[in-house]
C-alpha cells in the first residue's frame, strides 16, 4: 500500500518528533512482547522432551499419566515429582525422593533401570498470572531472585501478572476504542450530515445518555449478569461512544456545505456514499485528534473499575486490582511501586505517541 503524498508528509513529521517515534517503538516492542505473554511467563514449559518424544504443554493438554504419573488431570509441571518424571523418563522412584533424583540427574551421577534423560524448556518467568508461588512466608512476599517484583497477597508472581495485565489493558482499550469510535463516528456523521431535527433530537438524547451514572449501571448489570470481559466491553462502549459524536458531527456540519459535497449531491450520489467516501476521510483528522483522550480514558476507567472491585473477574490479571492490593498492603511497597510504574510508563508512552500523531496531522505543520 503506497502512502499518498499527504500521508507521507505526515509520517515524516511524526518521525521528526523523536520522543513520539521512540515512544512508539518502545510501546510496540512492549505490546508485541506482551502478545506472547504465554511464552514469557507461564507455569508450563514451552517444550518438553520425554522418552524421545516432544510435548508442547502451552498448546495442548497432557495428563500426568503421559509422563508416567498417576493422575488423569493435567500435569503440574512445576511439581518436583513431575519434573523428576520428565527428566528421568518416568522412573517410579520420583514419587519418593524427587529432589534427590533431580540433583543426581543434574550432576550426571544418576543410574537406574529404564532411565532416559529428558528435558524441558521453561519460559523466563516460570509463573502464570494465576499460579501461586511455592515460597515459604506470608504473602505478599518481597522481591527476590525467584520473584523479581515479589508476590501479591495471594502469592502470585507480580511480574507475571503485570505482563498479562498490560496486555489485557491494551487489548481491552483497543477493542473498546475501536467499537466506540465506529459507533460514535456513525452517529456523529448521521447527525451532522442530515442536521435539522435529527440533529436536535439526537443531541438531546446524547445529553441525557451522557448524564446516566455509568458506574451504577455497571454494578447493577454485573450483579444481574455476572462479571465478564465482554460484558464490560459492551457497557463501556455503551457509555463512551458519545465522546466522538461532537467532533465528527461538527466536521460533518461544516463539510456538508462544501462545494465538493454539493457537487456529489448534484450528481445524485447517495447519502451513504457521500458520507463515507467524501466526508469521512476529510473528517478523519479531527477524529484522530480525539482518539488519544478515549484511549487513555478507557485505560483509566478499566483501572478505576478494577480498583473499586467492579471491573473484570477477580482472577484476571489486572493493574487496577494490583493497585487495590497496594493500597491494602502498605507494608508491601513493591506492589505500589510496580503498579505506579506500569501505569506511568504505559500512559506516558501513549500520550507521547498521540501527541506526535496530533502534531503530524496538524495542517499548519503538514504544509511547512
Amino acid at each position: 500500500m503506497a502512502l499518498s503524498p499527504l500521508n507521507q508528509r505526515r509520517w515524516n513529521n511524526f518521525r521528526r518528533n523523536r520522543r513520539a517515534l521512540w515512544s512508539l517503538r518502545i510501546f510496540l516492542v512492549l505490546f508485541g512482547l506482551s502478545l506472547f505473554a504465554e511464552f514469557i511467563a507461564n507455569d508450563k514449559p514451552i517444550l518438553v522432551q520425554y522418552r524421545g518424544e516432544y510435548f508442547t504443554p502451552i498448546f495442548s493438554f497432557y495428563p500426568e499419566t503421559a509422563f508416567g504419573g498417576d493422575f488423569q488431570t493435567e500435569a503440574a509441571y512445576r511439581d518436583p515429582e513431575v519434573q523428576c518424571l520428565i527428566q528421568s523418563g518416568g522412573i517410579e522412584d520420583c514419587f519418593d525422593d524427587p529432589e534427590g533424583i533431580l540433583e543426581q540427574i543434574g550432576t550426571g551421577s544418576y543410574q537406574a533401570d529404564g532411565f532416559q534423560k529428558g528435558w524441558s524448556i521453561w519460559p523466563p518467568i516460570p509463573y502464570s498470572y494465576r499460579s501461586t508461588v511455592d515460597r515459604p512466608g506470608a504473602a505478599p512476599l518481597p522481591p527476590n531472585r525467584q520473584n523479581l517484583l515479589g508476590t501479591d497477597d495471594t502469592k502470585r508472581d507480580v511480574l507475571a501478572r503485570v505482563i498479562y495485565g498490560f496486555r489485557l489493558s491494551i487489548l481491552f482499550t483497543l477493542i473498546v476504542t475501536t467499537l466506540a469510535s465506529v459507533v460514535g463516528i456513525i452517529a456523529g456523521a448521521v447527525q451532522g450530515y442530515f442536521g435539522g431535527w435529527i440533529d436536535l433530537v439526537f443531541q438531546r438524547i446524547i445529553e441525557i445518555w451522557g448524564a446516566t451514572p455509568s458506574l451504577y449501571v455497571i454494578i447493577i448489570l454485573f450483579a444481574i449478569l455476572g462479571r465478564s470481559f465482554w460484558l464490560l466491553v459492551f457497557i463501556l462502549v455503551l457509555f463512551s461512544w458519545t465522546a466522538l459524536v461532537g467532533v465528527v458531527r461538527a466536521e460533518f456540519l461544516r463539510a456538508r456545505n462544501l462545494e465538493y459535497v454539493r457537487a456529489a449531491k448534484a450528481l445524485g450520489v447517495g447519502n451513504l456514499t457521500i458520507m463515507f467516501r467524501h466526508m469521512l476521510p476529510n473528517a478523519m483528522v479531527a477524529t484522530i485528534t480525539m482518539l488519544p483522550f478515549i484511549v487513555t480514558g478507557t485505560i483509566s476507567t478499566l483501572a478505576g473499575l478494577d480498583f473499586l472491585g467492579f471491573g473484570l473477574p477477580s482472577s484476571s490479571p489486572s493493574l487496577g486490582e494490583l493497585t487495590l492490593q497496594a493500597k491494602q498492603n502498605l507494608k508491601a511497597p513493591w506492589l505500589a511501586f510496580t503498579a505506579f510504574t506500569v501505569f506511568a510508563v504505559m500512559l506516558s508512552l501513549l500520550v507521547f505517541i498521540f501527541e506526535g500523531v496530533r502534531d503530524a496531522f496538524d495542517p499548519r505543520k503538514t504544509f511547512e
Partner: protein
C-alpha cells in the same frame, strides 16, 4: 415543387429549459428584529424570471454579484425548488425530472464556480472522474481507465494527471478537471458558473477555446454564467442580462451588446474597459438590497435616463424585434 407536409400549428421545438415567471423568495430574519422575535421578511432572489434555453444554443447569463445568477443556476439544476412560477426541463418540472431516476443528473452537468473546492481534496483526479462514470454506469469497470485517459486528453491534461491530487494542480488545470468531470456523464447540457473567472488571461483564453470546441463537437447546450461581457460575447450566441433577480434584457449576444436597449445593459457595456479608452462614468451607488426592492422599475434608482413614470410602473420583459426582449419603459432606441 412540393413542400414537406407541415401541420398548420406545428409546436415550436421544445426548449431544453424553460422558466416561466420563476420566483425564488427566501424567508430571512427581519433586519433589526427584537430578540426572540420570529419576524421574517421575504428576500426576492428571483422575481419573475422568464427564460428559455433551446437545444444546442449557448446562453450567457450576465449580471452583477447579487443579481440572482447563482440562485437561477440552482433552480436550473433542480437543487432548489422555485417558490413561484414554473421551471421546466424538456416540458417537465425540473424537480420532478430530477426525482425520476438518474437521467436528469446525467444529462445536465455542472462546472462549479469554485473548481478547486468542488473536487474532493482526498481523491485523485482519476477517482474524481471515475465517480460519475461509475454512478451512471457509463463504462464497464475494465474500460474505466481508458475512458479517464480519454477525458483528460479531451480537456488537454496529461494522462498522468489521473494519479495526482487536486492540490497538486494549477488553477487552470483544476478547471479543466472540473470540465472533464462534467463531461464524464456524457451530458447534453453543460451549466458553467464563472468557469473562467479569476484566471490569468492566457489560461482564460485556452479554457474558452476548449469550451467552444467542446460545445461545437459534442453539440452541447451551454448555459454560461459570467460577469464578463467579453467572455459572453466570445462564447455565447445568446445573452441574458440580470438585474436584481430579473432578466432585464435578452437576445442574440451581438445585437444586445452592440445596441443595448436597456440602460443597464448599456451601462454594463460601457463599464467594460477598452484599450486606451477612458472609462465612462460608472453607475452610481450599489445594487439595492433585494429585501427592499425599489418601487416601480427596479433599476430606476440608478438609471441615468429614468423618467418620472419609472418609479411607478414595474416593466415586464417585452418583445423588442428579432428574438430580443427588454424590460424597460423607455428602451434606448438607436438613432
Amino acid at each position: 415543387m412540393t413542400l414537406p407536409p407541415q401541420a398548420p400549428n406545428a409546436p415550436p421545438v421544445q426548449p431544453i429549459f424553460e422558466l416561466i415567471e420563476v420566483e425564488q423568495v427566501f424567508e430571512v430574519p427581519k433586519p433589526g428584529r427584537p430578540l426572540f422575535s420570529r419576524d421574517t421578511v421575504g428576500l426576492r432572489a428571483l422575481d419573475g424570471v422568464r427564460l428559455s434555453i433551446r437545444k444546442g444554443t449557448s446562453l450567457a447569463i450576465v449580471g452583477e454579484s447579487g443579481s440572482g445568477k447563482s440562485t437561477l443556476l440552482r433552480v436550473l439544476l433542480g437543487l432548489d425548488k422555485p417558490s413561484g412560477g414554473r421551471a421546466l426541463y424538456r416540458g417537465k418540472p425540473i424537480g420532478e425530472a430530477r426525482a425520476q431516476g438518474t437521467d436528469f443528473a446525467r444529462d445536465v452537468a455542472m462546472v462549479y464556480q469554485d473548481a478547486r473546492g468542488s473536487l474532493d481534496p482526498r481523491m485523485t483526479i482519476g477517482a474524481i472522474l471515475a465517480e460519475p462514470l461509475r454512478h451512471f454506469n457509463i463504462v464497464p469497470p475494465e474500460g474505466e481507465a481508458q475512458r479517464i485517459a480519454h477525458l483528460l486528453d479531451r480537456v488537454g491534461l496529461p494522462v498522468d494527471a489521473a494519479e495526482r491530487f487536486p492540490s497538486g494542480l494549477s488553477g487552470g488545470q483544476v478547471r479543466r478537471v472540473a470540465i472533464a468531470r462534467a463531461l464524464a456523464s456524457e451530458p447534453s447540457v453543460l451549466v458553467a458558473d464563472e468557469a473562467v473567472s479569476g484566471l490569468d488571461v492566457s489560461t482564460q483564453a485556452q479554457l474558452l477555446t476548449l469550451l467552444q470546441s467542446l460545445q461545437r463537437d459534442m453539440g452541447l447546450t451551454l448555459a454560461f454564467i459570467t460577469h464578463d461581457l467579453g467572455v459572453a460575447s466570445y462564447l455565447c450566441e445568446e445573452i441574458a442580462i440580470m438585474y436584481l433577480g430579473r432578466i432585464v434584457e435578452t437576445g442574440p449576444t451581438d445585437a444586445v451588446l452592440n445596441a443595448p436597449a436597456h440602460p443597464y445593459s448599456a451601462a454594463l457595456r460601457a463599464a467594460a474597459p477598452q484599450f486606451f479608452e477612458p472609462l465612462s462614468e460608472p453607475l452610481p451607488g450599489e445594487i439595492p438590497s433585494p429585501l427592499d426592492l425599489p418601487k416601480g422599475c427596479r433599476f430606476s434608482t440608478r438609471c441615468p435616463v429614468a423618467q418620472s413614470d419609472c418609479q411607478s410602473k414595474d416593466p415586464q420583459l417585452g418583445k423588442l424585434g428579432s428574438g430580443r426582449a427588454v424590460a424597460c419603459i423607455h428602451p434606448i432606441t438607436q438613432a
